[in-house]
């Protein structure tokens, strides 16, 4: 169980670093949570005069939202190193990983955890899920719970893939963090609301280009069973793990190719 032991050791250290600045980190986590909550509050304020919009209750939209928060929390818990990959490469820390007898991706993933973001998004996600699920009377059967967890993992992996494809560019010393943030966070912003609110072109974008639709909209249909799902292929509802697995596998291939390129060209910044 070497990998697990090593992972736990890294986990212990990253946690220790975070706990060093307890006050500071708790404040940041709270700030992140409040920032993310703004979206929810605005939605509630906007809709408090209307019972339904386009057939959606407010709780249903917030339920949709909860997927985003929880899967992002999971993503950031496991993949902070991928999110901050540019720093890792440009600071030269990445070269250190190459001289250790452990898998490179493993080190990237294990060596950094942004607990503040994980906590901020996670707590908000759980609150939202708990509130909306009981309001909507969602029955938590064993298979339902399993499905929800599977969808969260898939969602985290889809988001990781988006970040990882951007991080691959670092191997060519091309900076894409800006572009990535632009695509990722704007897509996320759009995905906060039902896809049916948007024109077809944007729907297609969130299905085929930046597949955020599979992070929340389609999986949520399993629980909400909205009639508008008829406009899409019903298989989309279950496609999240497939999209996640295929995407992540592809991205890993590209990443490994980039890694090879990196070791043959070197970090040209030095």
């Amino acid at each position: 169980m070497y990998p697990l032991r090593l992972f736990l050791k890294y986990f212990q250290l990253t946690l220790k670093v975070t706990l060093q600045y307890k006050f500071d980190r708790v404040l940041i986590a709270a700030a992140v949570m409040i920032r993310e909550m703004a979206g929810v509050i605005i939605l509630i304020l906007m809709l408090n005069r209307f019972v339904m919009i386009k057939g959606w209750q407010i709780d249903e939209i917030l339920f949709l939202y909860s997927f985003l928060f929880l899967s992002y929390s999971l993503f950031v818990f496991f993949f902070t190193g991928i999110r901050d990959f540019e720093d890792l490469v440009y600071s030269g820390e990445f070269d250190r990983f190459l001289v250790r007898p452990v898998g490179i991706l493993f080190q990237v993933i294990a060596s950094k955890v942004d607990y503040t973001a994980a906590l901020g998004h996670g707590v908000l996600g759980i609150i939202l899920l708990q509130k909306t699920a009981s309001q909507l009377g969602i029955e938590w059967t064993a298979s339902g719970i399993l499905f929800y967890i599977l969808m969260l993992l898939g969602g985290a992996l889809i988001q990781a893939s988006i970040f990882m494809i951007a991080s691959t560019f670092c191997f060519w010393t091309v900076r894409t963090t800006n572009l990535r943030n632009m695509l990722f966070f704007n897509s996320r912003k759009i995905a906060a609301y039902p896809l049916s609110f948007y024109p077809g072109l944007i729907q297609k974008f969130l299905i085929y280009v930046i597949p955020f639709g599979f992070v929340n909209y389609f999986p949520a249909q399993y629980f909400l069973k909205k009639p508008e799902m008829n406009e899409f292929w019903s298989g989309f509802m279950f496609l999240n793990p497939v999209v996640a697995a295929v995407l992540f596998a592809l991205v890993c291939l590209v990443w490994n190719y980039g890694l090879k390129h990196y070791s043959s060209t070197g970090n040209a910044l030095y």
């Binding site: 500071d24 920032r35 304020l45 906007m46 386009k54 966070f185 912003k189 948007y198």
Partner: protein, 262 residues
């Protein structure tokens, strides 16, 4: 005066260099407006009122508010960075007023945002949606005045938050909380007339609505003539109050810097 104009000019040019940041900001504005309009569209479609004036009013409001919100965005970490790097002491020794220096920097960035963000965004959305013209020419002039006052309210509020860097190691939390408060309470996303009465009463006690809500309401002719002057006066009062707080904090902060030796 010359020196400050130079700083503003440099700041303007500096922004031009970062093209990737520019496209990111432009796309952010466009998408934020798009998402918000999609929701309002969904709401009014439900009510069957896409053609009525109410919808055009809200569309105009959202586009104007979010476009203004985008250009009122400032680099929040200038002071923090200067304190961290220790540059603050040498800046204070320069024969320039630090606060005017800082303002010139932000002013240059503001002009840049007006030319390259506000105008393209407004043009784009006025092609797609029916954006209402100003209520009247007089109101438009009042609107312009009110926008300027709104900017100063925002700036004075920001300045207070930035100054906290003299006391705290990191200002991220405070800045983020302030941003969120502005986003929700200033009417940048939802007009106050959609908010619960009690919340509106609360907001009226704060400076937040004087940043975006008052100027845009004037543009749309939603503020009756008899209340117009009062609204502008509220903006002026808040600039004075926040400015005074900022001034006192600034004095305290610089004294602290001298005592502690940077």
């Amino acid at each position: 005066m010359r020196a400050y104009l130079k700083i503003a000019q440099k700041s303007f040019r500096n922004n031009l260099v970062f093209r990737a940041e520019y496209f990111a900001a432009l796309l952010n504005t466009i998408v934020t407006i798009l998402v918000n309009l999609a929701i309002w569209r969904a709401i009014y479609e439900e009510e069957g009122g896409l053609d009525n004036l109410q919808f055009s009013l809200i569309v105009t409001y959202v586009i104007l508010a979010l476009a203004l919100f985008q250009i009122f965005t400032m680099d929040e970490y200038v002071i923090e960075k200067k304190i961290k790097s220790g540059l603050i002491t040498s800046d204070l020794l320069k024969p320039l007023s630090f606060r005017l220096h800082l303002f010139s920097f932000h002013f240059g960035a503001l002009l840049y945002r007006i030319v390259l963000l506000l105008i393209p965004t407004l043009l784009l959305y006025s092609l797609v949606y029916r954006v209402l013209p100003p209520f009247s020419i007089e109101m438009f002039l009042c609107f312009l005045l009110s926008v300027i006052l709104g900017y100063f309210v925002m700036y004075s509020l920001n300045f207070i938050v930035w100054l906290s860097a003299f006391w705290f190691y990191k200002t991220f939390s405070l800045v983020t909380i302030k941003d969120t408060a502005v986003l929700v309470l200033s009417g940048a996303v939802i007009p106050l007339w959609f908010m619960p009465q009690q919340l509106v009463h609360f907001i009226k006690l704060t400076p937040f609505d004087t940043i975006f809500f008052i100027p845009i309401s004037i543009y749309l002719g939603q503020i009756p003539m008899d209340q117009l002057l009062f609204s502008l006066l509220r903006q002026v009062i808040w600039i004075t109050v926040l400015g005074l707080i900022g001034h006192v904090l600034w004095k305290l902060a610089t004294r602290r810097l001298i005592v502690q030796g940077g």
